[in-house]
Amino acid sequence: MNTGNQQSEPSKRMFHVQVGHHQMTVEAESRAEALSIARRKLGADLPRLWDMIYDMQDTDFDIRQTE
């Protein structure tokens, strides 16, 4: 059995994302993905601020890996 070509599942890590008073913990492969998930979640939680959330610069979000 040749398993040499099989790709292993990329490991997921936990990120803490904070913007203003809002903070959340998301599971993602990278900082970019964590940011994208956070935007998505915030957009769903705060539909009236959708345009602002998606217009914000990446640097406005504080992203820290927790593990």
Partner: protein, 509 residues
Amino acid sequence: MALHSFTPLTEELCKIQQEIEGYAQRYGLDFYPTIFELVDHDQLNAIAAYGGFPTRYPHWRFGMEYEQLSKGYTYGLQKIYELVINNDPCYAYLMKSNELTDQKLVMAHVYGHCDFFKNNHWFSQTNRKMMDEMANHGNRVRRYMDRFGVEEVETFIDACLSLEDLVDIYSPFIKRHDGPPSRYDFSAAAEEDSGDGKFKAKQYMDRFINPPDVLRAQQDARREEQQAQEQRFPAEPQRDVLRFLVEHAPLKAWQADVLSIIRDEAYYFAPQGQTKIMNEGWATYWHSTIMTRHGLQPADVINYADHTAGTLATQPGRLNPYKLGLELFRDIEDRWNRGKFGREYEECDDWRAQQEWNTEAGLGREKIFEVRRVHNDITFIDSFLTPEFCRRQNLFSFAYNQQSDYYELEGREFQKIKQRLLFGLTNRGRPHIHVRDANHKNRGELYLGHRYEGVELDLAYAKDTLQNLYSLWKRPVHIETQLEEDLSIVSFDGTEHHVTKEKKSKESA
């Protein structure tokens, strides 16, 4: 009532205006130049009684409305926050006694209205110089009063005002009447000659395919119908009853002019009735967005929240246009932001997947601007009221289904709610009435038709209106309607009313 001594804005308010106008422009709102006037409560009540205009024709009803508003204000029952006029430039009024937070809120709200007036299609045919036009109407009526007496002119205006709803609100957008035919246009005559109704056939088969006696009968029937059409006056039912009266009622020149003034004003105000929910919803959406994101200082929050809650409060059983319009705009924005539209979404039968649907389409803002451009209240509700929205807004409730042991959405109930909403908005809730025959029984009597849609005419109102109509038409007037499931004709012959039951409608005759 000193209507013309408005105070200019204070320096502080001027700065606030510039600030709020800047926010509005940055969000893409597009409006005519907007002029704010500072007025006291008495002036504001007077302007509101005049329908927002500082100068109107004189009539007792404006005084009556002023009294009503004044008393309401004095007893603390009501207070007008904002008043804005669809005009170029837009005029808006600020109450002097309002706090600064309220002034900001009103300004943001006004810019929403101004954008709506300028860009909504249903306002596109309104006169943008109505401020001047209204003043002009006032001068004309005042001149007639000087010449013919206040009593006579005012009594005539009373009669006209009772008919002011009898206009065709869609006529500015539809060409219902052709102009007079050109004297060089012979197409109708040519058509008359060639219209023999023959099928194409070989000569030897012609006698069988186009039997001469059938053709002759067809031609006779066509000719008869054409003659009947030519004799009927008007040739087709006329929805714009006021226009018909201006053109054909035996009125004196000043009376025709006053009636045309009432008609012009009815058409000017019609789109405001057609878009009440959207217009208020749009303005509230923008004042809410501007205030919560930019305009509010920490000290203003309680006051702002209190007043907004007051505006958006819905009493059970009553429709609040501010609330319904705002929530629908927000719902549309959210749905289009998350891509919750289109065939794929509609056909998705997984409830959870639909709830969590998010394609990150981000089209919400663009969509609500499109909606404000093309829709009126009827098409707005018809296109965007969803069962999901009804459930969230408690417009109807879930029902427990014992058989399935589930709380289920009452689908039919939603349809009923939607239908009831649309029914109340159709023709602005007024009955559909049209002129059918202006030479009824060949006696020059006016015969109107009422399109029965499940609600009977209020007979007391119908009788009074017929009386007023008689004073304009000067010959007996009739209206065909349905009363207690019978086709009935209500008539007024100048002295008394009659109600007769009919078997067959004139339209179907």
